[in-house]
Symmetry: C2
Subunit: 419 residues, 2 copies
């Protein structure tokens, strides 16, 4: 049967987003409606229960694995075919929004409901998954559930992770909220394909007036913490030539990594997000500074080049100013490239549906980058208003949500093969 005319019901999808957003709702100072559903808290359980209830309503066979990942499966016509999986997460950061993650999971349910509504059968099963602790806001590392799902982290190690806030053990929190499931993890078999619909969490689509991003991969990430030690001194009595000022060095590094990113261009970004002076007083040259540098690139060799230039910058400044710089790697991930045919499919489908498109990397991490280790994977991005995310003011216009769900529906149909 021809299914190319099928469209998602954006209103229905938005209603589910609203309903899930009420669980752990937080209100901003200007009436913004955000969300606080940290992984494996009571709010997370309540959110999970709501989504699992919807899965049951849609007739899905719901399975829970040993790390709490939940997969609802709609059977296909071929009993031997691996499922086409749609997934994301429903945990949020502490002051998060209602779209990050949730859109991918509820977009999947919308695909299922559209298929049901129109009586469309597919050769491959279609599965909707939400993965445990994608945000990493309570248990680190982030993308933990999908990482364990693809065998990238041992189950026992993951269950032993302690919460950053209250020290709770992940395995016990899973038990406590009733989501320590019986399915094996890592999963027994890989999906046939994996799709994830997600808000961009950045300003590029909005800035360029584009509706659909066909995500080509995920940037590699290099996080470094620097502890710079100099000599605390009186701001009035210490001549410039006798200073060993770690605050100046931190500033020069901040300016320097900006210059590295601008000189390299392309997808290279560089950010100093954290910087703390000690003792942090108006009239005291600081004695020590702790800062972080976040470098990202879609190309591993370029990311290595940025790291090398950053190292040279630090060494030069330390020598010039007479300070010491201790380095600690906080995170290092290589870039992930999505399957080209899958990216082409997203792009072509979006164009066929009349949307403007842009092939673009993701600057943020997603469960999709884990699934890309085991099956052909692609992501569909829709614009974030003002590029905001991890923010209670996070918003995506309903028309863009509908556009994204339509593209998701059509690429799933293409991969799962309507019969």
């Amino acid at each position: 049967m021809s299914t190319s005319h099928l469209r998602a019901d954006g209103g229905r999808l938005c209603a589910r987003l609203e309903a899930l957003g009420e669980v752990g709702a937080v209100l901003g100072p200007n009436g913004e409606r955000g969300c606080a559903r940290l992984a494996l808290t009571d709010a997370d359980r309540e959110g999970r229960d709501l989504v699992v209830g919807w899965m049951h309503d849609l007739g899905l066979a719901v399975g829970i694995d040993a790390i709490g990942n939940v997969v609802g499966v709609r059977a296909g016509t071929d009993p031997d075919a691996a499922p086409v999986m749609i997934g994301s997460h429903i945990d949020t950061v502490r002051t998060g929004g209602r779209f990050d993650g949730n859109l991918g999971v509820l977009g999947g349910l919308e695909v299922i409901e559209t298929l049901e509504q129109h009586g469309v059968r597919t050769r491959h099963p279609v599965a909707v998954a939400f993965f445990t602790d994608e945000e990493g806001a309570r248990f680190q590392p982030d993308m933990l559930g999908s990482l364990v799902y693809v065998g990238g982290m041992g189950l026992e190690d993951a269950l032993d992770v302690r919460a950053a806030d209250d020290g709770a053990r992940l395995g016990e929190e899973l038990q406590r909220i009733g989501y320590a499931g019986s399915l094996p993890c890592p999963a027994a078999g890989a999906p046939h394909a994996y799709f994830e619909l997600h808000i961009e969490q950045g300003p590029v689509l909005e800035d360029e007036g584009v509706t659909i991003g066909a995500v080509t991969g995920v940037q590699g990430i290099s996080w470094t913490e620097l502890t710079i030690t100099g000599q605390s001194a009186h701001a009035g009595t210490t001549p410039m030539r006798l200073r060993h000022d770690p605050g100046y060095v931190a500033a020069a590094i901040t300016v320097g990594v900006r210059a590295i990113a601008q000189r390299m261009g392309g997808t290279q970004v560089a950010t100093v997000g954290r910087c703390e002076l000690e003792p942090n007083l108006v009239n005291v040259v600081p004695g020590a500074v702790t800062m972080t540098v976040d470098l990202r690139n879609t190309d591993e060799s370029l990311l290595l080049q940025a790291e090398a230039e950053f190292q040279q910058l630090c060494a030069g400044l330390a020598g010039e100013e007479g300070v010491t710089i201790a380095r600690r790697s906080l995170a290092r991930f290589q870039p992930v490239e999505f399957d080209t045919a899958m990216v082409d499919l997203v792009e072509a489908t979006a164009r066929r549906l009349g949307h403007t498109t842009k092939r673009m990397p993701s600057g943020a991490g997603h469960d999709a980058q884990m699934l890309a280790r085991v099956c052909p994977t692609a992501m569909v991005f829709v614009p974030s208003v003002n590029g905001l995310s991890h923010n209670i003011a996070e918003h995506t216009h309903p028309a863009d949500i509908t556009a994204g769900a339509d593209v998701l529906l059509q690429v799933v149909l293409a991969a799962a093969v309507a019969v």
Copy 2:
């Protein structure tokens, strides 16, 4: 009588510094022996009682004024002559040393005791004063007692000042510790001259191997707080060209004011001592930064030039990066120049006693800058080990203390006129 051979007893002076340092003593991690005698606390009362006891032991007529300044007077032979005053303070910062302030007051007592010991009479009375709340660590502004003493701040306003820590009213704390005196403040008459012996609180004398600093004046101070507001954003998903990063602007200002100070040279210094990013997370471009800029110069016109260049720097960066910068002045004092004849006297006396000397400005504020408004004033600096001050590791070698006390004794004799 000839008094040019008279010398202070450095051991006696050091013993008094030790004894006063035991009041409010704090011990550092490496056995450093510091001091915490915040103004008008119980520890301050105990320190005051000790010093007033020594004043009585030396036969001084002790008077306390309405803001708690204490002056012990040794009579001169001329009933109409105004006193030569030696002064400083005995309050300390929260983690202070045993020399800052205390040396000037106890150096004054050492001068008195030497005169007594040798039966030296002077035409002018010799007074030793300690002023209330020089540090400003508990009650702001700093140098409060000497400021009121010279009529620079109204007594009632000063008594109404509230403590930064517990909100206590200065006037009530004065009453509580028994130091709300009956003498008028501002003082009825000005001293004939004022001398203050003080540790340098900076590294210059030690760095240049000089024993005695003849202080030419006090640098003007300009403190500005900047609040820079940009757009918080995801460190991975926000291209460099779309950023409005107040952290980058703060860093560029920090680098820029360093460059201004180095280009101007002379006594110009520039310090960013405080800098706070919001939200201060590794993977978030900050949305706002608060920072301070401390500019100092001995020349008012040059300080104005530094301020103007700093303003231009801020305006340029705000425009380039698309951020707003709100400015707030935290403090602004014009430079103070000491009486040239008095500075010459200190320098010539130190040389006569065989010490290396350097004419130098003070980068820190002192009670002397207030007294300079009403009488010829000079300061004698001795080296601070490693330039440290406002630090429990503050130290000055006994030989340097003795040298400073000798110079103080001889300049007081010259001004008070031995008879």
